[in-house]
């Protein structure tokens, strides 16, 4: 985990900007004994926000929408993964039935 100052330094982020992002809910630091702490994932998230604002011309309102959708996609992907893992462990007969059902649903 990274402490506040180290995080600002590595993310090349001013503390005012970081505070604003935290207040907006874009970043959620972990609460630890000495204070707030950040992960490598938070660092990558900062980079994503910077890509969106600097390179792609997205404004603050857009960032909130995009992050929310990305977070939803990852939730969906995780569910889809565990669902397909669960399906993969079924006996071949049951899988064939599901495949037929899916094929029919797609028609």
């Amino acid at each position: 985990m990274l402490e506040y100052e180290e995080f600002c330094f590595r993310a090349r982020l001013e503390s005012g900007t970081l505070e604003a992002w935290i207040a907006a809910g874009w970043l959620i630091p972990a609460k630890t004994e000495p204070g707030r702490a950040f992960s490598e994932a938070d660092l990558a998230r900062v980079q994503l926000i910077q890509d969106l604002t600097r390179d792609l011309g997205v404004n603050d309102e857009g960032i909130a929408v995009i992050l929310d959708l990305i977070d939803q996609i990852h939730g969906l992907r995780r569910s889809l993964k565990s669902l397909s893992a669960a399906l993969g462990s079924l006996p071949p007969e049951a899988r064939a039935t599901i495949q037929r059902q899916l094929g029919a649903a797609r028609q």
């Binding site: 907006a24 809910g25 994932a41 011309g57 990305i70 569910s79």
Partner: protein, 309 residues
């Protein structure tokens, strides 16, 4: 990897910097790995495109490239990780991204389907560990001068269509921020809601001005009222009152009306200070002119005595 950057971005060699930037943005929006969590090719293409933009997006580097001083590879900035690598991984690396994951994308399935309800529970279960207070919601509210002095209730329309009754305490100051607990955005994972922060802007009054807890106003009076004294009606924030003007009052004389100023927290009020302004009748008056012309004491009085010294 070292393809011609102009071809990578799909622009002509004489494209303007703006055209190059537009072309990059168009491609980057399609290809950014975090906008394509499931597409492995997107990362390779994105690298190529951002490498090309690194080179051509900077007019100076672009000129050097055009002159053949640096090659297409010279500008590449390899980037190894994206947010999706954390969000989409298993185990320790995923730990930090978990808190952001949202099950709202299929929350409605959970009501109807047992299997998905199970999955929903899992994702939400993780999220529930993070309790986070909702963000504060800022507002800006114009308040009439007298409402600010006396206190009032105002109704605010929120963006979501609901309304909020705001009690403006008497004596509120310009720029003061009212905090309405729990009226901001909802919290995450059962966390408390944020607060509504209402910044007050007081609209100036045509007659009154405010100085701390006191009210000031200029009161026009007639020459007769100034010379002979009299009772006049004076506006105050709580309605007009009658005030006695002493005989021989002057322009600039300040009279105090106790307890007619701004309401204070302890229930008392500041004072109102009335500055008198003598007004002559609008039309020239022959009687007044002839009186003043023959008025020795008035003519020998020099009101600018002090300025001379």
């Amino acid at each position: 990897m070292n393809a011609d950057p102009y071809q990578v971005l799909g622009v002509a060699r004489d494209a303007s910097q703006d055209q190059i930037r537009a072309a990059y943005r168009k491609l980057a929006k399609k290809l950014h790995p975090d906008l394509n969590p499931g597409n492995k090719d997107a990362e390779e293409r994105f690298k190529e495109v951002s490498g090309a933009y690194d080179l051509l997006g900077d007019a100076e580097k672009r000129a050097r490239f055009d002159r053949g001083e640096i090659d297409a590879a010279g500008a590449e900035r390899p980037r190894e990780t994206y947010y999706r690598d954390f969000a989409d991984s298993a185990g320790a690396a995923h730990e930090g991204a978990r808190r952001y994951e949202s099950a709202e994308g299929f929350a409605d399935f959970a009501d109807t389907d047992d299997i998905l309800a199970e999955l929903y529970g899992k994702v939400r279960g993780r999220g529930a560990k993070i309790r986070m207070r909702g963000p504060d919601l800022p507002f800006h509210l114009h308040v009439d001068f007298l409402d600010a002095v006396n206190g009032a209730t105002r109704r605010l329309s929120l963006p979501d269509g609901s309304t909020l009754d705001v009690t403006i305490p008497p004596g509120i100051r310009d720029g003061q921020v009212l905090r309405l607990k729990g009226k901001g955005r909802p919290g995450l994972g059962g966390g408390p809601s944020g607060d509504a922060l209402i910044e007050i802007e007081i609209v100036p009054h045509p007659v009154f001005t405010r100085q701390g807890d006191d009210i000031r106003l200029d009161l026009p009076i007639s020459l007769a009222e100034a010379v002979l004294g009299g009772r006049v009606e004076v506006p105050t924030p709580t309605g007009p009152v009658t005030m006695t003007i002493p005989k021989g009052s002057n322009s600039g004389t300040v009279l105090r009306i106790r307890g007619k100023g701004v309401a204070k927290r302890d229930g008392t009020r500041g004072d109102e200070y009335v500055t008198l302004r003598i007004m002559l009748p609008g039309k020239p008056d022959p009687a007044l002119e002839s009186f003043v012309a023959g008025w020795e004491a008035g003519r020998s009085f020099n009101p600018r005595e002090r300025e001379k010294a």
